[in-house]
Amino acid sequence: MSRQQTGLDDFGRFAEPALLILISLADGSKHGYAITDDIEQVTGVRHGPGTLYGALARLESRGFIEPVKSTDRRNPYRLTDLGRAALRTRLAALEAVTRAGQRRLVASEG
């Protein structure tokens, strides 16, 4: 697996948790428990550690996030430049899909 891939397309069932992790880390570094809390606040969904760390491992292996040196057992993570670019790309794609969906919905109702 190349570490230079720039998308979440091959993340399978971890694509959504991975996107939410990237969004959570966009405003600063957080450890696993804080990420879970943050995602729950934003989406109402609480991911278990198996799902969270499945997505974290994928993001770290592709260089989208990196651990921050810490003496705490709860190691914080932060976005890398590659991760920030991947998040921008993904959000832009989602925005385009949302716009297209809303346009069609409005057209069908009008």
Partner: protein, 167 residues
Amino acid sequence: MTWLLQLYPRAWRRRYGAEVTAMLAEEPRSLRLALDLVAGAVDARMHPQWTPGAAEAEGDHEMTANTACTYARTGYAPHRAKISAAWMLGISLVSVVIGLTVSSAFGDSLYTEALFTSAFFIALLVSNFEGRDPRPYTGAARVVILTTGSALIYGFFLAVSLVAERL
């Protein structure tokens, strides 16, 4: 619940084990949480991810040599690895479901605690048998050995729990 982390590959545990253990300490125990951990373990074994930390912790070359020696010494067959892993995860999962069901029906007791503790070792015993080629025993002999072995493991942990409670 942290014993479920034993289902994960060693490299994964060295990289993320402490973090997840800290996280589990703050999560209430539930069937959903147990299933999530088991599903995560299956994924970690089926789709191992390369991370700098895991590679450093594992010592890739040394592990390869050790693994080869282990195969040669025990008769463990790599082509039966998936079957072995399925037994390991299946027995662990069934044990968790039984343990949580009994706990919710009758409350926590030494018997359920011993079941949770012994589940991994029973799963390890069966997984070890099923991962070998040729298998050391077949048919009724295997059933008797595995049943007796499982009962002894459970009995051992139950005895330890009983002794610990009296001390």
